[in-house]
């Protein structure tokens, strides 16, 4: 891989010298995410193809750590782990074949299981970064606990490439639970939220809780799915207490994959907003809604103004993102993500200037103007 890396490094230094933007591309399945590059920079952009860096570098199941090149397909990682009865507990979505592990980490998206297991950033242990000077820098490592220096690895998770290209990473992995059952409840949004209320304060092994409106019936009907993962006895006790209809393992697998990877009817409509809110936020009534994370993430199809959605999200302790839109709609003038406060923005701007002074990497994609 040294040869591939040095070629990439040359690409970056050449781009920098020629003032050309660099677009970092993994599997290309999440290119819709974030602020679009201006047409002008798109024409000039050099594409840094991460797929050339592929393969698992080190995997010791007993250490609960996997290290891989960033361009390794997500499927390959998941298959490698499954052989040892382990998994990526943050449940990364993949919006099409070819998603890479580097892309998953750079996008920072976690799936339904992160309700119980925690988000992606909790699982990033180490990274190697190809920076704007063409250097390969190493942060963190393969150990669970490491407080030497600042946690740059976790800063890179979810940064959408704004600080450079992640070329290698080490992730903490988890054992597959002994028991994994899914139960369904035919309830409307408000009832589904009520059933999720207080889940964080209870010791039920509910690792995911998501609600989808019905495709066929109108009038607010829908399906709440809860995924119970843990020891045999814990899952059994929770099943008895929570009720619901048990879903066959195969159907359960499909249900979660369809929801996580947005393959169901609901996600076909655009524009699609993602609102992250605090626990126990009531029904928002902003448009057609599905929810994940026990209600802490609301997927909303709506034509409402960005400003209104952002205000509502802020009031609920979170933020709103225009997640998918068709090419014809204008993107909000300050970008698809909720704008940062002035003090935070000043810090982020200085970070960008330090890491990437000519702003060549994925310019403006995460933070408009940077």
């Amino acid at each position: 891989m040294d040869y591939v890396l040095s070629q990439m490094s040359e690409q970056v230094t050449a781009a920098r010298a020629n003032f050309r933007p660099v677009e970092i591309v993994g599997g290309g399945t999440k290119r819709f995410l974030g602020n679009p590059l201006s047409t002008q920079s798109q024409d000039k952009a050099i594409r840094l193809e991460m797929k050339a860096l592929s393969g698992v570098i080190d995997y010791e199941p007993n250490e609960l750590v996997i290290t891989a090149w960033a361009g390794t397909p997500l499927q390959e990682i998941e298959a490698t782990l499954a052989k040892e009865n382990q998994m990526l507990a943050f449940d990364p979505p993949s919006f099409g074949l070819g998603s890479t592990i580097g892309g998953a980490v750079a996008a920072g998206l976690s799936g339904p299981l992160s309700f119980g297991y925690g988000p992606l950033r909790h699982y990033v242990l180490g990274t190697q970064l190809l920076d704007a000077q063409g250097r390969v820098l190493t942060f963190g490592g393969q150990v669970m606990k490491n407080v030497a220096g600042y946690d740059v690895s976790r800063l890179l998770a979810g940064s959408l490439g704004m600080f450079g290209a992640i070329v290698q990473l080490s992730l903490k992995v988890m054992p597959v639970p002994l028991r994994d059952q899914t139960v369904l409840f035919a309830v409307d949004e408000s009832e589904a939220l009520a059933r999720c209320a207080g889940l964080r304060a209870k010791s039920w092994p509910v690792k995911a809780a998501s609600w989808l409106p019905s495709a066929k019936e109108s009038g607010g009907k829908g399906e709440l799915a809860m995924r119970l993962c843990g020891a045999q006895s814990a899952v059994k006790e929770a099943r008895e207490a929570l009720g619901g209809d048990l879903l066959e393992p195969e159907l359960a697998g499909q249900w979660w994959a369809n929801f996580r990877d947005q393959k169901t009817h609901f996600f076909a409509g655009q524009p699609l907003w993602r609102m992250a809110v605090r626990s126990n936020t009531p029904v928002l009534s902003l448009g057609d809604t599905a929810f994940d994370m026990g209600g802490e993430v609301r997927w909303i199809r709506t034509d409402r103004e960005a400003q209104e959605l952002r205000t509502r999200a802020s009031e609920a302790g979170g933020h709103a993102t225009l997640f998918r839109w068709d090419g014809e709609q204008p993107v909000p003038p300050n970008g698809v993500f909720q704008p940062l406060g002035a003090t935070t923005l000043a810090v982020v701007k200085r970070l960008k200037d330090e890491f990437d002074p000519k702003s060549i990497f994925n310019s403006g994609r995460l933070v408009a103007g940077l």
Partner: protein, 498 residues
Amino acid sequence: MNATNDLLDAGRVETDIDEILHALNTVLPAHCILARREQMRPYECDGLSLYRQMPLIVVLPETEEQVRGVLRACRRLNVPVVTRGAGTGLSGGAMPHAQGVLLGMSKFNRIKHVDPLAATAVVEPGVRNLAVSEAVAHLGLYYAPDPSSQIACTIGGNVSENSGGVHCLKYGLTIHNVLKVRVVTLDGEVMELGSESPDAAGPDLLSTFVGSEGMLGVVTEVTLRLLPKPTLAKVIMASFDDVETAGQAVAAVIAAGIIPAGLEMMDQRATEMVEPFVNAGYDTSAKAILLCESDGTEAEVAEEIARMTAVFEKVGATRTQVSTSEEERLRFWAGRKNAFPAAGRVSPDYYCMDGTIPRRRLSEVLQAIEEMETTYGLRCANVFHAGDGNLHPLILFDSNREAEVENAEAFGAAILELCVKVGGAITGEHGVGLEKINQMCVQFGRDELDVFLSVKRSFDPDGLLNPEKVIPTLARCAEYGKMHVHGGQLPFIDLPRF
């Protein structure tokens, strides 16, 4: 270990104490300012008492507005600021700056809000770690990270150090249990990092801030994730007749798909040291013991304890004993949590190290530490967060003997360098502070250290927050490299030298 003076920046302009006092008096009531030597004496060091330094002035603000005022004044007058919680840190991170203000956050001690349904708590940084769990116990909730110093250490300090504890294998470090922090920057501006929702807009500054050792901003409020308190917990004490088998047992538990609530190892020297002090009931005839905890519902614990016991017996434990009551469980843990004070009882001084290693290198590392005991002529007891590869060798020495002090420091440095060599890190949870600043040159290349300086500048462009800690300068690494010539070869050959 008279490393203090050379760490201070000799180049800083001499500050006018009257001018600083005047500026502080305009933003703080008089009772919040301590400037007499006898008042300031308690602040001259943190838990690493080998490093001591009197500050210029100590301030103990009571409101966020006062913190903002202090920081603005310090910035205007170019005065360094060192923030301090309870001062229980073990790496000198809260050691004052001779020309600086020591900013004590002890008066920020209110739990502002608890949301029992969402299982979150909003607390001020001076609230003690254990006080959070005590305050929410009636709701069936608790705050999971439990560093050994939890009766005294504060949440603000935990955020600064990314503290762990004996239960972090299953429940994570501070970073995994903090949702949001409210931070005052050196220019007196306020920002919130993270959010009450699952994520926040923009790059993840919260993760960078947690564990930043007071160098990026001053925390005035923290939103914590609370967890439901398991109905039951039991611990297995397993004995092994050599350390290697104990190490294999740890790997076997993980391989069986179990993530224990706690998984600790103590070697024989540690159990022999602790037992007379705590009467924990440890098997002192064993070369190593493991403490392995299971928590959850009654059925869950019974199921897991049975699986764990089977694993230990299969690997070759000479004895296993399951706690039969909550009292006994706490006694087993009391021994582990009191390992440091117990070391203080059998030796005039001890030096606690904090390296992490991949677990598979355990026996090799412990073997090497045993050989170092001969090399440096000092004894070393090992306690070990086995589940997550975090070693705490306790080097026993006598500070009245100059040679022993030097040897202890060299012994410690050698252990940390060994940790880096086998793929680990120089600190798992105690932080770099002043203590391990030299080993940062071993852990990281110059390019990475420069990136840390970039991060520092981005949050604190004036470089006044806890300066001269954590990130070594180029000159320091070059100097340290010269002192450590391995096999006739200079490390960091690519470094420019002065």
